[in-house]
């Protein structure tokens, strides 16, 4: 490089952008990541962020408490719009979770090294998103204390759940997804919990991390089985993550409502899920690397790759929108044609146009290398995509339900204060869990980073 620096987007520089900053050893990655949890003092920013998100969590519990007291009448739902915000938010949250599993399982099977430093908090994000998602169908049942009716148990009434119903498929898909995500995450954490146990200086921390580490001692025989189990879990989580949003799309696609009854839904829901999930990973990664100085571990290469995945899945989603639109018109079915007109000219058309703007038009800027490498721009774009995906769920649920077959059954939907309180409350809950997570558990997998150090050293030889 004696002949002056090549321009930033030249091929030489692009190839050199590493997945790990230079000069790291096994000890340095261990110390750097574990110090965030063990020795670094809790910053004022953390307290402020935690307090704010805790406030919204309190709002959520108040909203749910009021709901339990008064019933679902406090929401804007009515007949014909029985689903409203609860289902919009449920589908949105579950979709966000998908990127975590994609990063931890699919990119693992594809041997993508850049997943290493982002998989841990992406998996945590999955768990927390599933927790937020799970709240909504539960409180939407109207009598949530009867929610156990959805599970097959030998009741004195002698009845069983209707296994032919997509709503029961949902129960199994979401609960399996939550369970598998949790154990996958925990298995990945075991070696790191052992590291924290061995680095902790206070007795209390040693005992807590020691219990959670299950006595892990890094024996080669243990690693041998551990690697088998981890690989198998990745292989199992891959079809699982593709199935979950497919099953959720069946909730719509099996119904005969115009705009729902279409067989493009499963792949287009899965692509949309990954799209919004990667947007959320970016929304979390960018502040996280800044706040804890992790630029060496979450490098521009990671942000660039995630932006590319976002762009690619965004194009699949755009393809889905186009064919949804085209097939409705091409079918000649007058209810489907009418629905397209309602999306373009109906009372909620501004939601539809905002959706096209957020999900299709604005993300095309990610084709630009310079914009993909502008961290602030990426952060804003990730928020825009998240908004767009929320609007997509709103358009699907609300426009179809307000305009079905008979004009006498048409209606309008207006979310109330309590709808917004519950929704923003779950966002606060999600953020609060993330704040707690980065404080008590390693946000980056230490064991896998050591492996990356070893591989990087190997390559340099």
């Amino acid at each position: 490089m004696s002949a002056g620096q090549p321009p930033i987007d030249s091929p030489q520089i692009r190839r050199l952008t590493p997945v790990l900053g230079p000069g790291h050893t096994f000890g340095s990655v261990t110390d750097k990541i574990s110090s965030i949890v063990l020795t670094r003092p809790t910053s004022l920013g953390w307290y402020i962020g935690f307090a704010l998100s805790f406030g919204f969590t309190a709002l959520m519990t108040i909203a749910i408490g009021w709901l339990f007291t008064k019933g679902v009448g406090i929401w804007g739902i009515n007949i014909p719009i029985g689903w409203g915000f609860a289902i919009v938010n449920f589908v949105w949250w579950i979709g966000i979770g998908h990127a975590g599993t994609l990063i931890s399982a699919i990119l693992f099977l594809l041997n993508q090294k850049w997943r290493t430093s982002i998989n841990r908090f992406a998996e945590a994000m999955t768990l927390f998103a599933v927790a937020c998602a799970g709240i909504f169908p539960l409180i939407h049942t109207g009598r949530p204390w009867m929610a156990f009716y959805m599970f097959p148990y030998p009741s004195t009434m002698g009845v069983w759940p209707q296994f032919r119903s997509p709503l029961i498929w949902d129960v199994f898909a979401v609960s399996t997804y939550g369970t598998v995500s949790l154990i996958f995450w925990f298995v990945g954490l075991i070696p790191d919990l052992a590291t924290l146990r061995d680095h902790a200086t206070s007795k209390v921390k040693q005992i807590i991390y020691g219990m959670l580490a299950l006595g892990w001692r890094g024996s080669v025989r243990h690693w041998h089985r551990y690697q088998s189990a981890y690989l198998l879990l990745a292989g199992l989580a891959t079809p699982l993550v593709l199935s979950v949003h497919s099953v959720i799309s069946f909730d719509f696609a099996v119904g005969i409502v115009p705009g729902w009854h279409t067989n493009i839904f499963p792949p287009y829901f899965v692509a949309g899920a990954i799209y919004s999930g990667f947007a959320m990973v970016l929304s979390i990664a960018i502040p996280l690397r800044k706040a804890y100085g992790l630029e060496d571990f979450i490098t521009m290469r990671h942000l660039d790759n995630m932006a590319k995945v976002m762009l690619a899945t965004g194009l699949i989603v755009a393809y889905g929108y186009f064919f949804e639109f085209f097939l409705s018109l091409y079918s000649g079915n007058k209810f489907d044609v009418f629905l397209v007109q309602q999306r373009l000219h109906g009372p909620y058309s501004h939601f539809y146009f905002a959706l096209i703007l957020c999900n299709i038009l604005l993300p095309q800027s990610l084709w630009s290398y310079r914009l993909r490498h502008n961290v602030a721009f990426l952060f804003i774009m990730s928020l825009i995509v998240n908004t767009g995906m929320w609007l997509e769920r709103f358009v699907i649920v609300v426009i179809s339900l307000t305009r079905d077959f008979t004009p006498s059954a048409w209606g309008r939907y207006q979310p109330t204060f309590w709808d917004w309180a519950t929704f923003t409350g779950t966002i606060g809950f999600f953020v609060m869990l993330l704040f707690l997570f980065v404080r008590v558990l390693p946000a980056i997998s230490i064991a896998e980073m050591r492996e990356l150090v070893a591989e990087t050293a190997e390559e340099e030889k």
Binding site: R217, V220, Y226
Partner: protein
């Protein structure tokens, strides 16, 4: 000497790089020691091979868990909707198996995943809060940046003095005795 041996778990050598450890494991096995174990902060490539570890039973347990989940899940839906509580909906067949596939699929994944994780933990005898190797003060580096080889006392060839001398010949950073308590 006999008295002393009953309290000793083994002799442990500490290495600075994974390559040194793999090399040491190969030499130790070549020297006739077989009751040995290596401890590393991450899965070291080639170490399982050097230790002579071949297959393990985690995949088999996972397969059985998946089969149990899938077959059990399908049979349960069949029993509930055909035998226990049959409902005639427009004369459609009671055993409407395509509608049972999503739940069967999810339960297959659930059974396989739970068996993969709990099978792995059970075969590894975890949780096991205490183990003699934790008595070695420097062993905290096993979860950070050092690599350990332990020759266990129940190896027929084990003799404290000879084994320590043998391990020192492998140029480790450190050699220590590991005691049971």
């Amino acid at each position: 000497m006999e008295q002393h041996r009953s309290h000793i778990y083994g002799v442990m050598a500490e290495f600075e790089t994974p390559e040194q450890l793999v090399d040491a494991v190969e030499k130790t096995r070549a020297a006739g020691y077989h009751r040995i174990d290596a401890y590393t902060p991450f899965p070291v490539e080639g170490l399982s091979h050097a230790m002579g570890l071949k297959h393990n039973n985690v995949p088999l347990i996972t397969l059985l868990g998946g089969l149990a989940g899938g077959l059990g899940g399908f049979y349960f839906q069949y029993w509930a909707n055909v035998v226990s509580f049959p409902e005639n909906i427009g004369g459609r067949p009671l055993n409407s198996w395509p509608a049972f596939i999503p739940v069967t699929f999810e339960l297959t994944i659930l059974g396989a995943s739970l068996c993969a994780v709990f099978g792995m933990l059970a075969l590894n005898r975890l949780p096991q809060p205490h183990h003699p190797v934790f008595n070695v003060g420097r062993f905290v580096h096993a979860t950070s940046d050092r690599f350990y080889l332990c020759i266990e006392a129940h190896d027929p060839k084990f003799q404290v003095v000879d084994t320590v001398r043998f391990l020192q010949g492998l140029h480790p950073h450190h050699v220590t005795e590991v005691h049971d308590d």
